[in-house]
């Protein structure tokens, strides 16, 4: 799966980083940065939790094309 962030929607709540610390970091300004778009199989549950946790629906998981 791919973890995609719409930067126009990210408001810097930071909850995604708590759910998926291996895939998301917060920058100096508090906005989410996806570390690697490709999500390893053992990271999918955490990524899905991050997607679900975003109050602004800035994140999404998409199957590989």
């Amino acid at each position: 799966m791919k973890l995609l962030l719409d930067a126009t929607l990210c408001q810097g709540y930071g909850v995604c980083q708590e759910k998926a610390p291996a895939q998301i970091e917060l920058d100096d300004f508090g906005y989410a940065a996806v570390l690697a778009t490709e999500v390893p199989a053992d990271g999918e549950a955490a990524a899905a939790a991050a997607v679900a946790a975003c109050p602004n629906r800035a994140l999404r998981l998409e199957p590989q094309r």
């Binding site: 929607l9 810097g12 920058d27 100096d28 300004f29 906005y31 940065a33």
Partner: protein, 418 residues
């Protein structure tokens, strides 16, 4: 006033024979334009020529055409003449002076992609008038419409183009999807820069046309120049022409290619060579610093410009461009501390590929180029500042702006459309 100059050894195919006068349909026909050619033959020429987009990103044109065609649904073609880079005037000149070359290229892109309709996306009034007259002089077989965005830095970004044509504001959207997947009205959309399209039209007329670039050369105290040069011309050749061989730095590719180290002046104007030194051709705008000007002040002005042109949609872009601009300004003013340089270094890497469009990448790249190529000079700013910067410390983001050369229009009325 912006001048016109050719560095070609033979004829200048993009400038044409009379670059100071608007070319009519009949002039263009006499020059060999608008002749029938199978779109498959042309596609193979475009592919063999290795044509890359001339709007900024430099994506291979044939791959773009193929991607749009492969999707299965009926595509849309957009000729992108937004030219948001302040230091670039070549697209506006092309549409004002050679509208039929652009139109011919666009109609050939329609043929190659089997598109059902096309759009001319033009911010500049005079260019829009010229293109509109060209459409009246040679009516296309598919519907063609002119769409007029505001003249802003981001309006020409391809997702902003699509959003504006779809009735929204000319602001970028998050990718994916890219326009070749889902663009105007959801259709696969080819967004091609007008110079790229002009080049396609030239390839249709002459398979062996020499590969050339339109460049906009500027700098404080210089008369700006629109230059046609062979691909692979060195930056040094432009510096020689501009009498700036002693330049302390060159802002490359509009605001996208960072500031080139003067020790790299021999670099060829060609995507791979520029990429190898961390620079970029971008839209072909080249801004030479004069001796006595400081690259740090130039970077600070560039960052102020970019921060002001952020469309303020992405939080990271608002914060990132503002922080980069403020910090670079403090380096120029001699008030920065060592931690500021560490922050600039970190941001110049971590803010790449973060925004919906490339504006934040341009800002990060500009900061990175200064730290990479002018490290000792930047460090020296910490100890009480820089005499060159303090002598020149009215922030001047307008310094990049270049107007197109004057183009005369024939006085006799336009004949009825054929």
């Amino acid at each position: 006033m912006t001048q016109i100059h050719s560095l070609m050894t033979g004829p200048a195919p993009l400038l044409g024979k009379n670059p100071e006068r608007r070319e009519t349909r009949d002039d263009y026909w006499r020059a060999g334009g608008y002749r029938d050619l199978s779109p498959d033959v042309l596609f193979n020429r475009v592919k063999a020529a290795g044509l890359r987009g001339r709007g900024g990103a430099g994506f291979p044109a044939a791959a773009k055409v193929r991607a749009v065609r492969a999707s299965g649904s009926v595509p849309v073609v957009v000729a992108n003449g937004a030219e948001g880079e302040p230091g670039s005037a070549k697209d506006r000149w092309l549409m004002r002076a050679r509208p039929h070359l652009v139109l011919d290229g666009m109609l050939r892109a329609v043929d190659m992609t089997r598109a059902a309709c096309c759009y001319l996306y033009v911010a500049d009034d005079e260019a829009a008038d010229s293109m509109s007259r060209a459409l009246a002089e040679r009516e296309p077989v598919v519907p063609a419409r002119i769409v007029r965005p505001e003249h802003t830095y981001v309006a020409g970004e391809e997702t902003a183009v699509v959003r504006r044509i779809n009735g929204g504001p000319a602001l970028p959207t998050a990718k994916p999807p890219r326009p070749f997947e889902a663009g105007v009205d959801g259709a696969p959309t080819l967004v091609a820069n007008v110079e790229t399209l002009a080049r396609i039209a030239l390839l249709a007329a002459h398979p062996q046309i020499p590969d050339s670039l339109l460049l906009t050369v500027s700098g404080r105290g210089l008369e700006p120049e629109l230059v046609e040069a062979p691909v692979g011309t060195s930056v040094q050749a432009l510096a020689y022409r501009a009498d700036r061989l002693d330049t302390p730095g060159v802002l490359m590719g509009g605001l996208f290619g960072g500031i080139l180290d003067p020790r790299r002046l021999v670099t060829a104007l060609e995507p791979a060579a520029l990429d190898a030194v961390g620079s970029a051709l971008g839209c072909g705008a080249v801004h030479f610093l004069a001796r006595g000007e400081c690259p740090v002040a130039l970077a600070a002005d560039g960052l102020v410009w970019l921060a002001g042109e952020s469309s303020r949609q992405c939080g990271v872009c608002v914060s990132g461009t503002t922080a980069l601009a403020r910090t670079m300004a403090s380096v120029a003013a001699g008030t920065a501390v060592p931690d500021d340089l560490a922050r600039l270094g970190r941001w110049s890497q971590s803010l790449r590929r973060r925004g919906a469009c490339g504006l934040l990448d341009a800002a990060a790249n500009l900061a990175a180029s200064v730290l990479r190529s002018f490290g000792p000079l930047v460090e020296a700013h910490l100890d009480g500042g820089c005499t060159r910067c303090t002598a020149d410390r009215t922030p001047d983001a307008d310094r990049f702006r270049v107007e197109p050369p004057t183009v005369r229009t024939t006085s006799h009325p336009v004949s009825a459309p054929r």
